[in-house]
Subunit: 195 residues, 2 copies
DNA sequence: ACCTGAACACCGTTCAAGT
DNA sequence: ACCTGAACACCGTTCAAGT
């Protein structure tokens, strides 16, 4: 089964981002990679932002799958959460340019569009992880929405600051996986017995 | 005392970002706002990234001052921290384009350069806030570095996700000030008596 | 030391035309 | 329905020249 030109354009854009960041995504470079003329992309996307948006949309679905898999593969909710956190950070580190795209440039978001839907799906899957964690007795007294938001923001903040390179790792946040684990630790005591 | 052309260029770039986002910062627009020819900026900055970097550098110093002021003005460290959090969020909301610039586009960072120094100064001031909080007995058993990183990442993540507009506020994280306060609450019980 | 004007290569976008 | 080639306006950057 053949890939459509549209899908191949998204593939090419994603590859260009991985190779040289979002700046490397010019319509000409994308088109050339697929083997069409430099303005053929306009038959599939409204403009350059729409191509970037399509890449981000796909990556949100990858994150959603990542959260779903963590919940499915670990019987223990806390383990599932820790795996999800580790995978999320690993994903950001291995695709810095594309990770960046997920939350940057609000101009490429059309309200109610596919990107917003994909972002909400990812958030929903993370919420399921947090819910399982709470059902198991951890931080059970906290509102799920707020707890999910706290985890999501911390995770994103850690990855985003690290990728931003405003500080050498050792002088800045240190190892961000340790910091993410710290948050999980802070949520543990609420499970009845406090150490 | 006259402002130098260089400072006026930074002022103009900051104003353009506030008005239309980083995309609106073209060398021609910046130069025109200051009243010089479109390539005069090259006498003061290496390239366009260097101008954006100068704006971000200044904003990091603003954040540093914000943290310092919070610590100075509140006798109670927890109150100081809460004020700092509220001010940080308010700052991001009132200058979304410039806030974005603080951690985005690593290509505009020169290692060891002024932007990195400014970012570290802001982090240091936040660390002082966290230290005062810990001296007062809150979360005293946790490593300061990790605790600061956790707070910084959460704060940045909350603001960045909200500004990214990937979700309607009510369907997404909810009110991010509430989430930030939740983190502070989580750090309280560690002060001896646990509720 | 600081600025200007012209020029170059590159880019997003549009349009008329082709199959 | 999908693509092409030419064209336009705009932009970052460079350079030779001016004071």
């Amino acid at each position: 089964m053949e890939k459509s030109t549209k899908v191949r354009l998204i593939d090419a854009a994603a590859a260009l981002i991985d190779a040289g960041g979002a700046r490397a995504v010019t319509l000409r470079a994308v088109a050339q990679a697929v083997g069409v003329s430099h303005n053929a992309p306009y038959k599939h996307f409204k403009d350059r932002d729409a191509i970037l948006s399509a890449v981000a949309e796909r990556d949100f679905h990858t994150l959603e799958a990542l959260f779903d898999r963590a919940l499915r593969d670990s019987p223990e909710p806390e383990t599932a959460l820790r795996h999800a956190i580790a995978d999320y950070i690993a994903y950001g580190r291995s695709h810095p340019g594309r990770y960046r795209l997920l939350f940057s440039d609000p101009e490429m978001v059309v309200p109610g569009g596919a990107l917003e839907v994909a972002a909400m799906c990812a958030l929903k899957s993370l919420t399921a992880l947090v819910e399982a964690f709470q059902v198991a007795g951890r931080a059970a007294h906290l509102p799920t929405r707020q707890l999910t938001a706290l985890l999501y923001a911390t995770l994103h903040g850690l990855v985003d600051i690290e990728l931003g390179q405003r500080a050498r790792p050792e002088k800045g946040l240190g190892d961000i996986t340790v910091v993410a684990d710290l948050l999980v630790e802070l949520l543990r005591p609420a499970q009845g017995l406090r150490q």
